[in-house]
């Protein structure tokens, strides 16, 4: 059996689902954030695989951009969580039920 594009896509899909699972079942903001990171990484994997099997480097450039955006996103997201924690002393989504601070 030869490993091909399909195998990579399946791994990527499963990883995406795992990230989704984390977002759905975990109630901690930071762990939810990690789930998001997993989903981004899954997308990256499929992009790299497409790039490899379609002989086109554009996919890798895309991944490069994704990684950069993810880094920026994590920085902003974590800053938000820290700011939230300062106000509310919690990072648990179930405790954040008011609309106004």
């Amino acid at each position: 059996m030869n490993v091909g594009l399909q195998h990579y896509l399946i791994v990527s899909g499963l990883l995406f689902s795992i990230g989704l699972l984390g977002v759905v079942i975990r109630r901690n903001l930071i762990v939810i954030f990690m789930g998001l990171e997993l989903m981004l990484n899954a997308a990256n994997l499929s992009l790299v695989a497409f790039s490899r099997y379609n002989s086109n480097l554009d996919g890798q450039v895309m991944v490069f951009f994704t990684i950069t955006v993810a880094a920026a996103e994590v920085a902003v997201g974590l800053a938000l969580i820290v700011a939230l924690y300062r106000k509310r002393q919690t990072a648990h989504v179930e405790d954040l039920i008011t609309l106004k601070f």
């Binding site: 689902s17 930071i30 450039v61 800053a79």
Partner: protein, 171 residues
């Protein structure tokens, strides 16, 4: 006889999925630090998969940026926020059941689609490209120059935003 790279693929893919699962739903510990550490392992194994796909530059960047910088940021925030409470909270079984069901359904749709789709004819060995740094750089600075520049502005904006957000008082 399966090729060496195939064995590597299955090993790494297994590790990626296992570590990924332990990141979000570790049955033994709900400590966010443990989650973060498993996420690091996931990322490093993913870098291994990138190497298998001959995307060496991306593999290095993946480890450097994700594992080296982003995840340390995560760890910092977790450690400084003192999230002990998380370990004692009980997961609500209703959420757990519904969430799992939704995800399983999602996986079903995904797999059904992927297995139905025939891989393109171009996806064969021989004409595969290398993730060479020089080629990637040329591409980045010729075809993708505008997005690249926009991205740098985005990073700057993020930087300013983060500093503003985490400042204690904005006077």
């Amino acid at each position: 006889m399966p090729q060496f790279t195939d064995i590597l693929f299955f090993g790494l893919a297994g590790l990626v999925l296992l570590f990924g699962f332990l990141t979000v739903a570790n049955p033994f510990s709900r400590n966010p630090v443990t989650s973060a550490m498993f996420l690091v392992l996931t990322i490093v194994s993913l870098a291994g998969l990138y190497v298998l796909l001959h995307a060496f530059f991306l593999a290095a960047v993946q480890v450097l940026v994700y594992a080296g910088a982003v995840m340390v940021l995560f760890l910092f925030v977790i450690m400084l926020l003192d999230l002990k409470e998380e370990e004692h909270r009980r997961l609500k079984s209703g959420i757990l059941a519904v969430g799992s069901l939704a995800v399983v359904a999602f996986v079903g749709i995904l797999l059904a689609t992927l297995l139905k789709a025939k891989p393109a004819a171009s996806a064969v060995a021989g004409r595969l490209v290398e993730g060479d740094t020089a080629k990637l750089g040329t591409l980045l600075f010729e075809n993708w120059l505008l997005p690249f520049e926009i991205l740098s502005v985005l990073l700057l904006v993020a930087m300013v935003g983060v500093i503003l957000l985490t400042k204690k008082d904005l006077k």
